[in-house]
C-alpha cells in the first residue's frame, strides 16, 4: 500500500512490463496473450471451482415473485379485503389497494412439490434442479438504482457488472468470441441500458459485448458495410497492415503493446469468422427449434402482447446463449423487458398483472426451460450456473384493481447448475410476500454474487481493484456465500 501502486491488471502489465521479464518469459506471456484475448487476473483460483460459466437472466421492470414462484395461499383467502401490513408502508406509487391473489393458478411440480404458477409451468420439469431464494431484499424501489444494485452490486452508476468482474478475474476461454456477451431485449434497453454491463473502472476488455442477432452487424463493427470494401482488399490490406505495424514495432523494442496490437487484428479476424457461425441457428433441428419456441419464425403477431411472440423473442436469445456457451463464452446475460415505457413490453405491471406478466412469463419460461434442458443433455449444466433475477418484487396489495406496485422489501431469485443444490428453498417471504419471514436475516445481492464467484473458484473478498482510493469489489463490504444451497 505504501509503495507506488498500479492497477493490477493486464493493461498495466502490457504498459509497464518491459525488460523486467526475461525475453523468454515475455515471449511466453505474449503467446498466451495471443491464445486468449485477455487473461484473468486470478492466475491461481482461490479454491477448486465447481463452475466455469454463468448465465444471468434479468427481468427488467421487476417481475412479481408472488405471481410466478412464491405461492401465497393467504392472498387467495383474503383476496379483495383491505390490505393491512401491520405497519406503515411506503411504496413507489402508493399502490396499497386491497390484497390481490395472483390471477394465475398454482400447482405442485417435481419431487419437491414446489408450487409454481401456471404461466411458468414449462419450468415445472426443472424444479428439482432449482434453488429458490424467496427472501431477497433490495435497497430501493426506484428502477434505476435497483437495477444497478442487482447488476453491479452498487445502486449508483459507474460500477462494473458481474459479468465484467468475472471476465476480469477469470479471463477468456476462447480466442475468437467475446468473454462476456449480453443479449438485450431488442425492443429497448432496461433501466440504465449498457451501463449495466459496462466495465466502468475495469479495463475495456472486461465490458459486456452486446449482440443483436437480427442486425446487419450483430456485434458492433463486426464487418464493414461499405461498397468499396471487398474480401480481396481486406485480405491484402490486413497483410500489408501487419507488415507495416511489424516494422514499427521492430524499431521500438521493449514495448509489448505494439506486439499485442498486431495480435489484436488476428483475433479480430478470427471473431469475424466465428461470430456469424455462432449466431446462425439455421442448422438447429426441428425438435430443438420447437423446444425453444422457435417453430413459427416468420409468423405475424397481433399488436397485443401475446405468449407465442414473447416465447420466440426470449427463446431465440436462450438458444443463442447455448451456442455461445458451447463455443467458450464465459458469461451470458439475457434481458427480458424494455425501458418500462408503454405499451408494456416489460415487467413493470402497475396496471395489469394478468395482461402483461402472463405472456412475458410464459415466453421466459419456454426459453429458460429449453436452455436448462439443452445444457443438461449436453452435460454443460454441471459447470454452468444459471441465475434468474430481477430488480425487485411486486406488492401483494393491488394497484388500480389489477396491477401491483414495486416491492423492494422482498423478491425471488433462483439459481441452478454449477454445483447448486436442486429442489431447495433458502429463506422464505412472509405469509403475504411483503417482507422476509425472518426480517433479521434476509438474502441480498451481495450473497448471490459471493456465491456465484465462490462456485467459480473466486473468493469475492479477494477480487479487488483500487479505484480512486478505495479497494473496490463487487460485494462492497458485504456478502456471504450461501453454503446451504451448494452440493
Amino acid at each position: 500500500m505504501r509503495e507506488r501502486n498500479e492497477m493490477n491488471n493486464r493493461r498495466s502489465f502490457l504498459t509497464h512490463c518491459g525488460a523486467g521479464f526475461g525475453a523468454l518469459a515475455l515471449n511466453a506471456m505474449l503467446q498466451h496473450e495471443a491464445a486468449a484475448a485477455n487473461d484473468g487476473v486470478v492466475q491461481v483460483l482461490h479454491h477448486p471451482a465447481k463452475a466455469k460459466r454463468v448465465v444471468q437472466l434479468f427481468m427488467g421492470g421487476a417481475a412479481s415473485h408472488i405471481d410466478l414462484w412464491d405461492h401465497k395461499p393467504m392472498l387467495e383467502k383474503h383476496h379483495g379485503q383491505a390490505s393491512d401490513f401491520g405497519e406503515k408502508v411506503e411504496t413507489f406509487q402508493d399502490g396499497l389497494g386491497p390484497w390481490m391473489k395472483s390471477p394465475f393458478k398454482f400447482s405442485p411440480h417435481g419431487e419437491s412439490g414446489k408450487m409454481l404458477s401456471e404461466v411458468v409451468e414449462p419450468m415445472g420439469e426443472h424444479t428439482d434442479d432449482l434453488a429458490f431464494i424467496h427472501n431477497m431484499v433490495g435497497k430501493s424501489g426506484v428502477h434505476s438504482q435497483a437495477t444497478y444494485l442487482q447488476a453491479t452490486g452498487f445502486q449508483l452508476p459507474g460500477f462494473p457488472g458481474m459479468g465484467s468482474w468475472v471476465s476480469y478475474g477469470l479471463g477468456s476461454m476462447n480466442d475468437n468470441l467475446p468473454t462476456f456477451v449480453v443479449l438485450p431485449d431488442h425492443r429497448g434497453f432496461a433501466s440504465n441500458g449498457p451501463k449495466n454491463w459496462g466495465s466502468a473502472f475495469l479495463p475495456a476488455s472486461a465490458q459486456g459485448t452486446a449482440i443483436f442477432p437480427q442486425r446487419d452487424n450483430p456485434i458492433e463493427d463486426l464487418s464493414a458495410q461499405a461498397s468499396f470494401v471487398t474480401k480481396a482488399g481486406d485480405s491484402a490490406g490486413l497483410s500489408l497492415l501487419k507488415r507495416m505495424n511489424r516494422r514499427y514495432q521492430e524499431e521500438r523494442k521493449g514495448d509489448s503493446r505494439l506486439e499485442a496490437r498486431i495480435r489484436s487484428y488476428e483475433l479480430a479476424a478470427a471473431m469475424q469468422l466465428s461470430a456469424p457461425e455462432a449466431l446462425d441457428i439455421s442448422g438447429e433441428s426441428q425438435a430443438t427449434m420447437k423446444m425453444y419456441g422457435l417453430d413459427r419464425i416468420g409468423a405475424t403477431y397481433p399488436a397485443e402482447i401475446n405468449p407465442a411472440e414473447e416465447a420466440e423473442y426470449f427463446g431465440r436469445k436462450c438458444l443463442i446463449a447455448r451456442r455461445l456457451l458451447e463455443r467458450g463464452v464465459r458469461f451470458v446475460q439475457i434481458w427480458s423487458g424494455n425501458d418500462n415505457g408503454f405499451p408494456r413490453r416489460n415487467w413493470d405491471s402497475h396496471e395489469n398483472i394478468q395482461r402483461d406478466h402472463g405472456p412475458l412469463a410464459r415466453g421466459m419460461a419456454v426459453g429458460t426451460a429449453a436452455l436448462l434442458k439443452d445444457l443438461k443433455q449436453r452435460g454443460m449444466l454441471e459447470d454452468t450456473i444459471v441465475l434468474w433475477t430481477t430488480e425487485f418484487g411486486r406488492m401483494p396489495s393491488s394497484q388500480g384493481g389489477t396491477g401491483r406496485d414495486h416491492n423492494p422489501y422482498v423478491f425471488t431469485n433462483w439459481l441452478c447448475g454449477g454445483g447448486i443444490k436442486g429442489g431447495v428453498t433458502h429463506g422464505a417471504s412472509d405469509q403475504w410476500g411483503y417482507k422476509p419471514l425472518d426480517r433479521s436475516s434476509p438474502t441480498q445481492v451481495y450473497d448471490i454474487h459471493a456465491t456465484i464467484l465462490h462456485q467459480l473458484g473466486i473468493d469475492h473478498k479477494r477480487l479487488t481493484v483500487r479505484h480512486n482510493g478505495i479497494d473496490r469489489r463487487i460485494t462492497d463490504v458485504h456478502g456471504h456465500v450461501l453454503t446451504n444451497i451448494l452440493t
Partner: protein, 788 residues
C-alpha cells in the same frame, strides 16, 4: 503481520490458561486486546450516540447492563451467539466479514475470565485524526538540487536528474524534431501537426524554434478544446442525466464551453475553482460566475428519485442524499484529490475525515439542486437586471404598504385626500410599469444546467428558494438512521482557516466559504492536486500515480520535492496553467526520446523516474479528431449545443440513442469530439471501445487497452469507412497521380515522408483495391495511433 498474529495467538493461549489469575491481568487483556478489537469492529455502530440494535459497547456500564455479556458465563452471553458462525454466516458484525476464530475465542476467554472492564476505559468510535501524512503537510518551496550538469537546464531537470542519479539511471538523448513536434502538438492541442508545420519546424535554425512552436500551440484555441476534455473527465460531464429515463440536458453545453474558454483565457486557477463552486456569490453579474456552477451539476442525476418520488419517502431521501454525495465527492476529488465520500457510511478508515466532517460538507450543498439556471451573457445587462429587479421589488413593496394604509389595514392612519391617494397609487403603478418594461426590453437570458435554488418545479422536484435542507449525520449512511444535525463546514486541515461555519450561514455564503477554503494559500492539497494532474497529462503518469487521491490509500509521490516545488511556483506565480505547460515542455526531461534502453529498463521498466519519454496511445477523442483532420473533413467551429452521433428516438419516455442508425457522413458531426453530445446511459460504443471516460465516474486517468473489438472498430466502424472515402477524395483532388497521393497520405498520417519500400507496397495496394481502402488501412497503423 505474520509475527503479530503469532504473538496474538500465543497471548491468547496463555491468557486462556491463566485468566483466573489477578484481575489486573484480566484488565490488561481487556485494554490490550479486547478494547482495540471492539473499537475496530463493533463500536462504529454500537456507540452511545447511534445505539444500533439498542445496544452500545462504549462503556462498561452500557455494555454489561444489557445482558448481552454475562461475566463468567460464555454460554449464556448472547454476544457470543451473534459473532459465532452458523451455516457459515454470522449475525454480527454486519459489514466487512466475521471475526476470525481467534478473535471470537479471545472474547470468549475474556467473558469466561469475568469480563473485566476497567471503569476508566471508555471505547472510542474509530476515526483517523492523524494529519501526519505527506499531502497534509504545509507547502514549502524546496530548493532545487544543484546538479552542475549540462543536461539539466531547468529546476524540473535538476529534480529529475537528481533522482535518476540516485537510482543509477541515465537520461535518454533528445527526441528528433519530427517526433518532438508531433508529441508536443498532440499534448497541447490534441491534434497532429500538418506536414507543412513539421517541415517548417524541422528546418528552423532559430535557437528558439521549439519555444516559438510551444507559444503558437498555447495561443491556439484548439488548446482549450483539448485540455477541457481532461477537466470534463474528472468533472463527469455529460449531456444527459443518466439513471432511468436518461433525460436530455439541452443546456449543459454552456459549462463545457466555459471550461474551454477559461483554459484558453488562461484564467488564474483560484478564480477558475471559485467560479465553479460559488461564482454567483463571489463574482456577481459575471456570466462565468453562473456558468461555472455547471461543475456542481455535471454528474448524474436521478430523475425518478427526484421528480416521481417525494422527498418525504425513503427512496426520495436516498436520492437526495446520493445527489449531495455526488456534489461533495465531485468537489473534493477534483480540487483536493481527497476521497471524502468514504465517510458517508463510517468515519474514513485511512484519512482524517469523520462522518461529522462529511455531512458538514453535504450541508454546504444542502440548498442547491441541478436545474436550468438563467443568466445574462453580457455583464452590463446582468448588472442592470439586478438593479431593476431590486427597484421593482422596492416599488412593489412600497405600493403594497400604501395600499394597506389606504384600505385602513395598517395601523398608520392617513390624512390624504381621495385625490392625493389616487395620485400616489398611480405614481407607484406608473413607476412599476416603467421598470417592468425596461426589464422586458433587456436582451433575453441564456440558460445553463447548473447548481440552482430557484427553478420551475416539476412533480416532487421543488426548489429550496435558498433555504438549506436539514442534513443529518447518517449512521451507516442510511437515511432511516439520522443522528445529529450536521453543521456546515470544511475540513480541519492543519493551518487552514477555521473549519466549522455558523449553522445560520446562508446557502450562498456556505459555498463561498468552501470556495475560499479550497484556494486558500495554505491549503496543502489543492495546489499539489492541480500541478500533479497537469504533469500527468504530459508524462502519462502523475508524480503521484493516483491523481484523485493524495490520501493514505493513494500512491506516494515519486518526486515529492519536485511536486512541492511545482505547486509553490504555480500558487505564488500567476496560477497560470499555460505557464506550467511552458515550464514542463521546455524541460529536457520532457524532450527525451521514448526509445528503450536495456540498462535503464532493468532498473525501472515502468519509467517511473522519467529516464525516457513514455510512448502513449491516442485517446478516443484525439484519434477521432485526427481522422477528421487528415481526411480534410474537420469543421473547427467552436461551441454550442452538442451534435448527435446517434438517431434519437422515443424521447417522451426514455430516449433511445440508436447509434447503429446514425449516418456518419452527416456534416454536422464533423467537428471536434469535445462538442459531441454525451449520452450518459448509453455511451458511444466506438468511443467506449477506445477507452473513452465513463461519465458516471470521475476519471482522472484513462485506461489504455488493446482489444480485438478495438481492431474491429478501426477497420469497420462506419465513421472510419466514411472518412476513408473522404480522405481518398481529398488525396485525389490535391494530387495529379497515385504516387503523390500515397506520399501525401503517409505524410498526413505519420508526419514523416514515406520510405521507398512503403511507397512501392502502398502503391500496389492502391492500384488494386482503390485509394479508399488504402486510407482505411492507414487509419489502423500503430504509427498513427501511438505518440513517441
Amino acid at each position: 503481520m505474520m509475527i503479530r498474529k503469532v504473538i496474538l495467538v500465543a497471548v491468547l493461549v496463555s491468557c486462556g490458561l491463566h485468566i483466573t489469575g489477578t484481575s489486573t491481568r484480566a484488565e490488561d487483556l481487556f485494554r490490550d486486546r479486547i478494547a482495540p478489537l471492539l473499537e475496530r469492529r463493533c463500536v462504529g455502530c454500537h456507540n452511545d450516540r447511534q445505539r444500533e440494535g439498542e445496544y452500545s459497547l462504549q462503556s462498561a456500564q452500557a455494555a454489561l447492563d444489557d445482558g448481552y455479556i454475562l461475566p463468567d458465563d460464555p454460554a449464556g452471553s448472547h454476544l457470543l451467539d451473534l459473532i459465532t458462525p452458523e451455516n457459515g454466516k454470522t449475525a454480527m458484525p454486519k459489514n466487512n466479514g466475521s471475526l476470525s476464530v481467534e478473535e471470537v475465542e479471545l472474547i470468549r476467554d475474556w467473558i469466561r475470565g469475568g469480563a473485566k472492564w476497567p471503569a476508566d476505559v471508555r471505547l472510542e468510535v474509530p476515526k483517523v485524526g492523524d494529519f501526519d501524512w505527506w499531502s497534509y503537510k504545509p507547502l514549502a518551496r524546496p530548493l532545487a538540487p544543484v546538479m552542475n550538469d549540462s543536461w539539466a537546464k531547468s529546476a524540473i531537470d535538476d529534480f529529475v536528474l537528481a533522482k535518476l542519479n540516485e537510482k543509477g539511471l541515465t537520461p535518454s538523448p533528445p527526441a528528433d524534431r519530427r517526433t518532438l513536434i508531433r508529441r508536443v502538438t498532440y499534448d497541447l492541442i490534441g491534434l497532429p501537426p500538418t506536414p507543412e508545420e513539421v517541415a517548417t519546424f524541422v528546418s528552423d535554425t532559430d535557437p528558439n524554434a521549439y519555444l516559438k512552436l510551444v507559444e503558437r500551440l498555447l495561443k491556439s484555441e484548439r488548446y482549450g478544446e483539448h485540455w477541457a476534455r481532461h477537466w470534463l473527465d474528472v468533472a463527469k460531464y455529460a449531456d444527459s442525466c443518466g439513471y432511468d429515463k436518461d433525460k436530455l440536458r439541452p443546456n449543459a453545453w454552456p459549462y463545457r464551453d466555459y471550461v474551454i474558454r477559461s483554459l484558453n483565457e488562461d484564467k488564474p486557477y483560484s478564480r477558475f475553482v471559485q467560479e465553479q463552486i460559488a461564482g454567483d456569490i463571489l463574482f456577481p453579474d459575471t456570466p462565468d460566475g453562473i456558468v461555472g456552477l455547471g461543475f456542481i451539476a455535471a454528474g448524474p442525476w436521478d430523475f425518478i428519485g427526484h421528480v416521481e418520488v417525494s422527498e418525504a419517502k425513503i427512496d426520495g431521501k436516498v436520492a437526495r442524499n446520493l445527489d449531495r454525495d455526488d456534489m461533495v465527492s465531485g468537489a473534493f476529488n477534483t480540487f483536493c484529490s481527497l476521497t471524502v465520500q468514504c465517510a458517508r457510511c463510517h468515519n474514513h478508515k485511512f484519512d482524517p475525515v469523520t462522518q461529522e466532517h462529511y455531512y458538514g460538507l453535504q450541508s454546504v450543498f444542502a440548498a442547491v439542486d441541478r436545474a436550468n439556471r438563467r443568466f445574462d451573457v453580457d455583464p452590463k445587462t446582468a448588472k442592470r437586471r439586478r438593479e431593476l429587479t431590486g427597484r421593482l421589488n422596492a416599488l412593489t413593496a412600497a405600493k403594497a404598504k400604501r395600499d394597506s394604509i389606504y384600505l385602513g389595514l395598517a395601523s398608520e392612519p392617513s390624512s390624504d385626500s381621495n385625490e392625493a391617494r389616487r395620485d400616489k397609487i398611480q405614481s407607484y403603478s406608473d413607476q412599476i410599469t416603467e421598470v417592468e418594461s425596461e426589464l422586458h426590453a433587456l436582451p433575453p437570458q441564456a440558460s445553463v444546467y447548473a447548481a440552482a435554488t430557484s427553478f420551475p418545479p416539476e412533480g416532487n422536484f421543488q426548489p429550496t428558494g435558498g433555504k438549506p435542507r436539514d442534513v443529518f449525520v447518517l449512521s451507516r449512511g442510511e437515511v432511516t438512521l439520522p443522528g445529529t444535525l450536521a453543521i456546515p463546514g470544511v475540513l480541519p486541515l492543519s493551518g487552514v482557516l477555521p473549519w466549522q461555519f455558523s449553522p445560520e450561514l446562508g446557502e450562498g455564503q456556505r459555498r463561498a466559504k468552501l470556495a475560499e477554503w479550497f484556494v486558500d494559500h495554505d491549503n496543502p492539497l489543492v495546489w499539489r492536486s492541480i500541478v500533479n494532474r497537469i504533469w500527468q497529462y504530459h508524462f502519462g503518469e502523475g508524480i503521484v500515480a493516483t491523481p484523485n487521491d493524495l490520501g493514505r490509500m493513494g500512491a506516494l509521490p515519486t518526486h515529492p520535492e519536485l511536486l512541492d516545488w511545482l505547486a509553490v511556483e504555480f500558487r505564488d506565480g500567476d496560477q497560470s496553467m499555460k505557464e506550467l505547460h511552458r515550464m514542463i515542455v521546455a524541460s529536457n526531461t520532457y524532450q527525451q526520446s521514448s526509445a528503450d534502453n536495456a540498462m535503464n529498463s532493468a532498473i525501472d521498466s515502468g519509467n517511473q523516474f522519467l529516464w525516457r519519454a513514455s510512448r502513449r496511445r491516442l485517446s478516443a477523442e484525439e484519434l477521432r479528431d485526427s481522422i477528421l483532420i487528415v481526411s480534410g473533413a474537420m469543421n473547427l467551429e467552436m461551441g454550442g449545443p452538442g451534435y448527435y452521433l446517434f438517431a434519437l428516438e422515443k424521447t417522451e419516455h426514455s430516449p433511445h440513442f440508436e447509434y447503429h442508425k446514425f449516418d456518419p457522413s452527416d456534416k454536422a458531426s464533423h467537428r471536434r469530439s469535445i462538442y459531441r453530445f454525451i449520452a450518459r446511459s448509453q455511451p458511444n460504443p466506438y468511443m467506449t471501445t477506445l477507452d473513452c471516460a465513463d461519465s458516471s465516474q470521475s476519471t482522472p486517468r484513462r485506461n489504455e487497452t488493446l482489444t480485438s473489438l478495438q481492431a474491429l472498430a478501426l477497420l469497420n466502424n462506419k465513421f472510419n469507412l466514411v472518412m476513408a472515402e473522404k480522405f481518398a477524395s481529398r488525396l485525389e483532388s490535391e494530387n495529379a497521380d497515385l504516387q503523390s497521393q500515397v506520399r501525401q497520405a503517409m505524410a498526413l498520417v505519420t508526419q514523416r515522408p514515406a520510405t521507398e519500400t512503403e511507397v512501392r507496397e502502398l502503391l500496389v495496394y492502391a492500384e488494386t483495391h482503390g485509394v479508399a481502402n488504402l486510407c482505411r488501412l492507414l487509419f489502423n497503423l500503430s504509427e498513427f495511433l501511438f505518440v513517441d
